[in-house]
Amino acid sequence: MDRSIRELMNHLGLPRIIIILFFISICIMAVFLGLPTDMLTNQVLVRIGMNGVLVLAMVPAILSGTGPNFGLPLGVICGLLGTLISIEMNLTGFPGFFAAIIISIPFAVIVGWVYGLLLNKVKGSEMMIATYTGFSVVFLMSIGWIIMPFKSPEMVWPIGKGLRVTISLGERFAEVLNKLWHIDAIIPGFGELKIPTGLLVFFFILCTIVWLFLRSKSGLALKTAGDNPKFAIASGINVDNNRIIGTVLSTVLGAIGIIVYTQSYGFIQLYQAPLMVAFPAVAAILIGGASAQKAHVSHVILGVFLFQGLLTIALPVASSIMSEGNISEALRMIVQNGIILYALTKVIGGE
């Protein structure tokens, strides 16, 4: 018994144990402060589903050796583009949702491929280059959103030119996944439990696909190229191609990820909104136990649970302790960036 606990602790690594203990203590505080636990639980579940795919996008990038994909905004922009075209085609519900995904994939593949070529030119400093590539593209697209020839009155400004900053998906495919096989149960002593089954199932299906890919011949080649490029070359594996494959997959998952996110959120946000999208995703996978070289699907699931769980529960706890007016937004920033910072200092990961 004692040994198995120690093994589990070694397996998790100290940073994760600290975060898990922190998470548990916050949950206990939430109960004692009399916060609505049922509502918080429901929120955590929704946020796991809506952010999960974006975190999953980190896996192929890390494993192919390009490090955590700080260039996630590239994929996100492809996803947004797919959504806009789906709205322009006047599709609603599931057809609209899947059309958005299918349309965004070719964009993501091309963008990911070009981005992969760029990353192959800057081996060793991918993270920094990726961050600024992401930033630059967000600003470039700020011009793009203005000049693109979209016509749908839902999306363009009533006067003047260009797309709106925030576009509602209410009439389109908002919450299609969340409402699919939705479970709504009243549990005595706890409250109302709402499980967004469709959303979670969709996330787990993508996790399974990535997991299966990593066990395939090409997946193993990709992992080898990332783990030890010299070994890979000596085994006849083309390292540069595999890095590009990893980047393309990451970009495609980023595109799908933002579509899942927006359908749950109910709005799409353009212009500067995608700027920081990579940071919570990177932080989540690092908290889950990944490092800049190693990542598993299990790190995604644990990481997104801990990160989003902390974020959702820490805020009401903090603002009910310090209830002075408008402090909650400042607290949100401090908690979120604090966790990201902590995660980034622990890039070493568990086993």
Partner: protein, 533 residues
């Protein structure tokens, strides 16, 4: 206590997590003595040095038992800094130098001679000016002691590896109070001539009264330099010998504790000159930094073990790396008469050429993956083995992988906890066996193996050589073995090609005289025989 010893360690015991690593070790070093410390990997040499330097790892794991005396004084070294104050210096295996600084700056780092200036008088002594001239003269003196004729003003970055080692030593002897210098496998990264120089200057240092503790694997170096030799095995001192009273084979025997029989009977090793060619190299040129190959013509005979020998840096390592396509290569390579595409590892592997790299940890292994994945990975990628296939979708066949790995582990006698163990945790010899298992999984016709016994202890060396011999005899596999250790080549090869200055100097039989080998290695063979004629 007796003051005639610089260092005395008495009855040292150390336990790591209920695991005895040192059990009553005694060691005595006199001033001016070169004392060699021998032992296989894991014999306890590093732990003993960690105790001497008061490394934090010792105190973090519960300290040690026993006494350490420096110049007859009982000391309790709690940190490397204290060790330095006591006059104990260490020359590291990896260089701890700042490339962008000059030699003087490296030698004097953090011990600079300074003088006051206007600002430092006002704002404190940390702003004092460096006294360059006196620093340079100090550095010069240390370099002269070592007989090093380079300018003390040169930058470290451009220097050859051998010189960097000397600068490390110069830095240690520049510390005025130095009494004991520890050399931790100093010759591991040096070429033979550089190593010779180093050993010479060690003797010179010892003659000035500094005691030297010399840790190494190389027995001939020990016989060459040391006055006394202490041999550790499994945490115990098995013997302390005077150099005059012992010889290489006795030392090797004491180190491994079993008798080494290397030589395969000569009647089993016929010359392979008459066999048919399996591979022909024509004007092979490889631009591998430090091991350039400058036009080699060589044919490899079917079913032989061909040795490739030569001094470090002459290009012998470059041949196998070039053929496998790891470095830019020109020239022609024919396999059974068919011309092969160069600079393409894939073509080579698919044509049945296996490769075990000299850089085991860098190229040979995925250190953070399991033994079984390491063994099958190349065969899976290149030959589509060990896979379930469902249309275009493939999945790794873990059952088959595991069965194959267990078979290999048993055949090659890999000592491990099981096929799932990470290769990082294995010892050098077992890692090498995993590399060989990976190459064998490809079922190659020709196996190129480079430096198969580098960094492996004596016991494991023999196992690896026996294994290669067995593969050749029983499976008829053609093996091309590159090695810096001539003795090893002569013990199993049919023919030995000697490379000098990037070219083939000649091919010898393993039974040719030492003189011929020596001349060829030095590139003087043809010159010498021409004169004779």
């Amino acid at each position: 206590m007796d003051t005639k010893y610089t260092l005395q360690m008495k009855n040292i015991h150390k336990v790591y997590f209920n695991n005895k690593v040192l059990n009553g070790v005694n060691i005595n070093v006199k001033p001016g003595e070169i004392h060699a410390l021998l032992g296989e990997n894991g014999a306890g040499k590093s732990t003993l040095m960690n105790i001497l330097f008061g490394m934090p790892v010792i105190h973090a794991t519960g300290g040690f038992e026993g006494d350490v005396y420096i110049n007859g004084q009982l000391v309790n070294v709690k940190s490397p800094k204290e060790a330095m104050k006591l006059g104990i210096g260490m020359v590291h295996q990896e260089f701890m130098l700042i490339p962008g600084f000059t030699i003087t700056e490296n030698i004097k780092l953090n011990r600079e001679t300074t003088k006051h200036n206007l600002i430092s008088r006002l704002l404190g002594s940390s702003l004092k000016t460096l006294d360059k001239r006196s620093m340079e003269s100090d550095a010069r003196r240390s370099l002269d002691t070592l007989g090093l004729e380079i300018s003390e003003k040169a930058k470290v970055s451009g220097l050859p590896v051998g010189h960097m080692q000397f600068i490390e030593i110069a830095r240690e002897i520049d510390k005025r109070n130095i009494k004991l210098l520890v050399f931790d496998e100093p010759t591991a990264v040096l070429t033979e001539s550089e190593a010779d120089n180093l050993l010479k200057s060690m003797k010179k240092l010892a003659s000035t009264g500094i005691a030297i503790l010399f840790i190494t694997h190389r027995l001939d170096e020990v016989m060459d330099t040391a006055d006394n030799i202490t041999i550790l095995r499994d945490g115990e001192v098995v013997a302390t010998k005077k150099k005059e009273e012992t010889n290489v084979s006795e030392l090797a025997l004491l180190m491994v504790g079993r008798k080494i029989e290397r030589n395969v009977p000569s009647e089993n090793r016929k010359s392979s000159e008459d066999s048919e060619d399996i591979m022909t190299l024509k004007n092979l040129r490889v631009s591998m930094p430090g091991e350039e190959v400058k036009g080699i013509n060589l044919s490899i005979k079917k079913g032989e073990i061909l040795g490739i020998g030569g001094l470090a840096g002459q290009g012998k390592i470059g041949i196998a790396n070039g053929i496998m396509g790891l470095y830019p290569t020109r020239g022609e390579v024919y396999l059974k008469g068919k011309k092969l595409k160069l600079n393409d590892p894939k073509t080579m592997i698919q044509n049945g050429i296996g490769f075990v790299s000299e850089d085991r940890r860098g190229i040979g292994l995925l250190l953070d993956s399991s033994i079984q994945l390491n063994i099958v990975l190349t065969a899976m990628q290149m030959q589509n083995k060990f896979l379930h296939k469902i249309g275009p979708i493939t999945q790794i066949n873990n059952g088959k992988v595991k069965r194959h790995a267990i078979k290999m582990i048993n055949n090659l006698d890999v000592r491990c906890q099981g096929p799932q163990q990470l290769t990082r945790r294995l010892s050098g010899g077992n890692q090498q066996k995993v590399c060989i298992a990976r190459a064998l999984t490809l079922e190659p016709d020709i196996l190129f193996i480079s430096e198969p016994t580098r960094g492996i202890d004596v016991g494991a060396k023999k196992l690896i050589l026996d294994l290669l011999y067995k593969l050749n005899k029983e499976l008829g596999m053609t093996i091309v073995m590159t090695s810096s250790e001539l003795g090893e080549l002569r013990s199993i090869c049919n023919r030995i090609a000697i490379i000098s200055e990037g070219k083939l100097e000649g091919i010898l039989s393993p039974f040719d005289s030492d003189v011929d080998f020596g001349l060829m290695m030095a590139g003087e063979y043809h010159k010498f025989h021409k004169e004779e004629a």
